[in-house]
Amino acid sequence: MIKIQLSGLYKHLKNNKGKFIAVFILFVFSICCLYFIAANDSLYSKTIAEIISVTQTNDKQAQDIYGNTEEICTQHISAVILNGNHKDEVIYMTNNISESQVFDTKYDIKDKVFITYHENSQKAIISASILDLKRDKYMAYILAVFLFLIILVGGKKGLRALASVAINIFIAFCLIKLYIFRVNVFLIITLSCLIFIVFSILLVNGRNQKSYAAILGTLAGTFFSLAVTLIVIYATNGAGMHYEEMDFLPYDSRQLFAVEVIIGTLGGIMDIAITISAAVKELSDKSPDIDKKSLIKSGKEIGKDIMGSMANTLIFAYISGSIPMIIIWLKNGYSVSTVINFNLSLEIIRALTGSIGIVISIPITIYISVFLICGNRTGAKA
């Protein structure tokens, strides 16, 4: 029985030899990377220590005016230094923690932490304290899981998606660098938008009419949604917008917000444009005699199906990041409407403009793709 199963497995592997080897190489590679990152302490210039024991004492209770009480504890930690001049020495540190751990961190045995220390004249450590946890292991771990899954599930298309994500991150990085050097903002925006859109769509979709229609649709949709936002901001004189979230940056908050709106909207509009142009192309391929009017009508039906869930996606992606801050404000006795006004105004405006962009881009993409695809068809006949 087992023999039969094994021979079946062997046959399967033989048929998918390339795929199997690719997955295997990937697996070995990621294991090696993880091992390297777990043991890279000597590469850091900061001092790293591994915690070997933790004892905890309860000190006091903190209470604020809103009736929230918390236990404040002290952790007495001993740790072994892993790199640098004092390698293998044992040090003792204390760490104050609160129950919620908003700003403080509770450490456990086997955690690796960055430390700072004072030396006396004989170069012996007299006191040490914890700076932060060493997080690179965890980052590498989830990155490895993600890469493994996307290639396993997505295959070649997964690789393409991965490539486009990597390129987009790189472009975003360049965009930020340019922004810091104070290159003209509108130049940056137009350029990066064009590169974002063209690269992502061509990489994911390949070079064909669908992609051209999607590119034009995305461009038009982004332009319109930005126009609507600017008009509304101008008309209401920015009533109800609170830029406090961005106050720590020495840049014009309005400009920065415009950049944010465009970047945030882009992904959603691209998604919609790709879906609709692909569907129009599919319809016109399946039934070549279909006239433009019914093509537009089916396109609109598809658009109705997807716009709700797309807007949902955007809203939750935007507001999820504010959850910890909202909880703190609610716990500090502020009302929901105050929280929305002061903490969520920018997120909500971004989500709304994103949704407006999505809805506008539906008819635009339909008309462009019908024009491109059908126009070409009649041209080919003649």
């Binding site: 929230n68 700003f103 997080r135």
Partner: protein, 256 residues
């Protein structure tokens, strides 16, 4: 007049114009989801366990979105079950790695934190990280799940004698087609929110080694990658669940 109100009206008009009935419905579902989000936060602030509240909220949002827009049928039921499965997997994964990496709360270097608030609020912030990640990716996985299950339903209706294996395969293929677009959508949405922070980190000239260990940068990257994992996971899960639901009905009908 507040800008949010004006934008809401503009959105309602556009959705009504382009989406007609279903557009208006989508608009009100959006509002309902937003309200339920705040009810969940109120509940967490009141003292309910953040993870339980998140699971409940995921069930509420996905049932509102799936069943109200698409009606109660096999497609939306399959999508609903798949979303729940992926939500549970993601919660386990995000909670385990999130608490390991201690991503909770804010960093001491956080440039935007206010000094006049009390931070001893008696809420488990490690669990709140999981809540943040789940709510962020929920919209995305609902979208992917319903796209796959409704497309598979079309395939199934058009080719009635399709085998289990082929149906599953076609589900995977459909999923692969939308994978790239969806990961990019979420990537851009998150990037736009992280822009100020990223600019700040760039200006403060963090080295790469500092960056991948810092409490400012890691939670953001963690959230992006976890959403990616959710989007990838929902594809095979929806393909499998939809296949078994569509074919299960066939077998029972044949027996009867």
């Amino acid at each position: 007049m507040s800008i949010i109100f004006v934008l809401l009206v503009v959105l309602l008009c556009l959705m009504a114009m382009i989406g007609e009935n279903r557009g208006v419905k989508s608009f009100f579902i959006l509002l309902m989801n937003f309200c339920s989000f705040f009810i969940m936060l109120k509940a967490v602030a009141f003292g309910i366990d953040p993870i339980k509240a998140t699971i409940l909220e995921c069930i509420i949002i996905s049932s509102i979105t799936l069943f109200f827009i698409n009606g109660f049928n096999r497609k939306s039921a399959a999508a609903f079950i798949s979303v729940l499965i992926v939500v549970i997997i993601c919660i386990l994964f995000a909670y385990k790695t999130g608490t390991g990496a201690k991503l909770q709360g804010f960093s001491n270097e956080n440039p935007g934190s206010a000094a006049y608030l009390s931070y001893y609020v008696h809420v488990n912030f490690s669990k709140l990280v999981t809540c943040e990640i789940l709510i962020g990716l929920l919209g995305g996985i609902i979208d992917v799940a319903i796209s796959i299950s409704s497309a598979m339903n079309e395939v199934f209706v058009n080719t009635f004698t399709i085998s289990k294996r082929d149906l599953f395969r076609s589900g995977l293929n459909i999923g692969r087609d939308i994978l790239g677009a969806m990961t990019n959508t979420l990537l851009f949405a998150y990037l736009s929110g992280f822009m100020p922070l990223l600019i700040w980190l760039n200006m403060a000239e963090y080295s790469f080694a500092d960056l991948i260990n810092s409490k400012l940068f890691c939670p953001e990257v963690f959230q992006i990658i976890c959403s990616g994992i959710g989007i990838v996971l929902i594809i095979p899960v929806t393909a499998a669940i939809t296949t078994s639901i569509l074919l299960f009905n066939i077998h029972t009908i044949n027996k009867a």
